[in-house]
Amino acid sequence: MENRQSFADVLAGAIFIAIGLAFVVGSLGYELGTPLRMGPGYFPLVTGGVLAVLGLVIVVKGLVAGEQIAFGRIPWRSVVMIVAAIVFFGLTIRNLGFVPTVAVTALLTALASYRIRLLTAVAAAAGLTVLSWLVFIVGLQLRLPLYGDWFPF
């Protein structure tokens, strides 16, 4: 277990450093204030610094005596499809309306699986749309137009 480099550790540490520094830089733009009367920038500045230091420790540890973690493969297709589905939902729910938005989102999400067949995905999406309509519109009385203003009829 000793003296092994760990990609996972270095990556995790790098993410923490990047986010920590981003918050540090961002908080310098706000009033810092004094410990007695902290301004809006004080707490994020200190916390961001702590995160960057912790990230650095994790990186160093990852280079010297890292935690061996089976990183495994990344299911790119799943990642892309799920992100696309969620973004599509956010972009269109207002103007496209509930039914078409949910149907497309469900279809995109279903296609995130490597093992699903197209026909199954379409069927699953259709079923999910009906189910969502029943739960949210009929059951919970959510006030969303079923078809939005992008539909001419």
């Binding site: 799920i82 969620i86 729910i93 279903a110």
Partner: protein, 502 residues
């Protein structure tokens, strides 16, 4: 007696027909997600949180609590029947429970788990009722300095008691705290880290963060390696345990209940630790330790009682201190806030009907679980045949609709994707998502109390060390940190959590 009056008020609230109905919906939903591997209560509660916005506060909290302990309960069914724990805390149940199922004794195993859980739930309800008010009275005397130290202790302990690398856990907490600073500053109103986006002024929506790091990240994890599940036990017969079984489970259930009630209060994975502790105790005191692993009913009854008791007593820190000991409780904090109630020591005096109604509903819920689940076992078995390919799109779609309906804000939906990917990468790197969520929920409280304490002390930071309660809490936090970092203990932790994986 005080406790009796309070419980009477609680039952009056909990037994109102609509609350019984919500409790029923909660426990059934909870059992369903507990039974299905790959969907945890954290993601589900996060998903349903927006929906409960429309309900009465009591009803929504009763339902959410029902999901939580219902899931503990449902997880054991999957563990016994297909050797796949639906819930982390059911991992030990799988060892002997599944061995019993292979030996044709799935029925008694399920019944032992159910009856043990019911007994533990009953006792834990009384424990909760007895200990909550005095603790809340102590907490009422806390000033901002004590609160700050308490929050620090809670956060650090949640890392010390959880599995995985301690330093990564700490980093996840700090990351969560930082994410919590997004939005308007409480004292000056200055918008922080909003990049001119008006939708972010109110801060990041914590439902988005929770659904992202628990729901989406978990789904991506599962899609790395899609497998089909095989259900081994088609039909469960001979449900009722024999007289001999009953004799054997009495002591383990009692011990498990005691262990679970005590450990549930701890931050971190209290209910997980409780079930492991109970299993090793039962193995140690047993006259036939060689039976463990080959279908000892004690190894099912003890841990199941322990984790159910712990699930219930983990409400104690939430209801008395406003301090969530685990991610599900962090979501409950969110549920309180959505309803316009700030959790903390005041809740118990300001909203007695709500707190006691919630406590009483847990007993009602446990009763419903026993009455429903033993007869419905065939239905749950059938549910295990739903393919994951259909299940995960439902989670994503419901999460998107639910989050959007919270504030009709598309940014909350985008945030799910951002935190899903971030969470996925971090989880892949060996970071646990739970500390991040706790940090995110507690971060604003931490900052507020820190700043308030320093204003009161005129900028003198020694206030945290000179006030005795605060100093003691901080000392405990340091001790927890040191103990976690010590190599000897770290190895022990690893051993404990490796067993869990097996």
């Amino acid at each position: 007696m005080d406790v009796l009056d309070n419980l009477a008020l609680g039952f009056e609230t909990a037994l109102q027909p609509e609350n019984v109905l919500f409790c029923l919906v909660g426990v059934v939903l909870g059992t369903a997600i507990g039974v299905l591997p790959g969907i945890g209560p954290t993601a589900t509660i996060a998903m349903l949180l927006p929906i409960t916005f429309n309900f009465e506060p009591v009803s929504s909290l009763i339902m959410l609590a029902g999901i939580y302990y219902g899931a503990q309960y449902g997880g054991s069914t999957t563990a016994i029947l297909i050797n796949l724990p639906g819930e982390a805390s059911a991992a030990v149940t799988a060892i002997d429970g599944h061995a019993m199922a292979r030996g044709g004794r799935a029925g008694p195993a399920l019944a032992a788990a159910a009856l043990g859980s019911f007994f533990a739930g009953t006792v834990a309800t009384v424990v909760l009722a007895a200990f909550a008010p005095p603790l809340a009275r102590v907490a009422l005397r806390f000033g901002p300095a004590e609160y700050f130290s308490l929050l620090v202790l809670g956060l650090i302990a949640s890392v010390a008691l959880a599995r995985g690398s301690a330093i990564k856990g700490l980093a996840m907490i700090v990351l969560g705290i930082l994410l919590g600073t997004v939005g308007q500053d409480i004292y000056t109103g200055t918008p922080r880290f909003v990049f001119g986006v008006r939708e972010l002024y109110g801060g990041l929506e914590f439902v988005s963060v929770a659904v992202g790091v628990f729901g989406v990240a978990e789904i991506l994890r599962n899609l790395e390696d899609e497998k089909t599940r095989t259900v081994m036990v088609r039909k469960v017969k001979n449900l009722w345990p024999t007289r001999d079984d009953f004799r054997r489970i009495v002591a383990p259930v009692l011990r498990g209940t005691g262990l679970g009630s005590a450990l549930g209060v701890l931050p971190g994975g209290g209910h997980i630790i409780a079930s492991f502790a109970s299993y090793s105790v039962e193995k140690r005191v047993s006259k036939q330790p060689e039976e463990f692993g080959n279908g000892a009913i004690e190894g099912v009854a003890g841990p199941e009682s322990a984790n159910n008791a712990a699930a219930q007593t983990s409400f104690i820190p939430l209801l008395t201190l406003g301090l969530p000991p685990n991610p599900v409780m962090a979501l409950m904090v969110g549920a309180f806030i959505v309803q316009g109630i700030t959790p903390g020591p005041n809740v118990i005096t300001d909203e007695p009907a709500l707190v006691w109604g919630l406590i009483a509903s847990m007993w009602v819920g446990n009763l419903l679980l026993v009455m429903l689940n033993l007869p419905l076992i065939g239905f749950w078995v059938k549910m295990l045949t739903i393919p994951y390919q259909v299940l995960f799109p439902a989670i994503i779609v419901f999460a998107a609709i639910g989050t959007y309906s919270l504030g009709f804000n598309a940014f909350d939906v985008y945030a799910i994707a951002v935190f899903g990917v971030l969470g996925y990468v971090l989880v892949k790197c060996g970071c646990e998502p739970a500390p991040l969520l706790l940090g995110f929920v507690l971060g604003p409280l931490l900052e507020e109390n820190l700043r308030r304490a320093l204003i009161i002390s005129r900028g003198d930071p020694s206030v945290f060390f000179t006030r005795p309660i605060s100093a003691a809490l901080l000392a405990l936090a340091v001790a927890a940190l040191v103990v976690t970092m010590l190599p000897a203990i770290r190895q022990r932790r690893e051993v404990v959590f490796q067993e869990e994986e097996g």
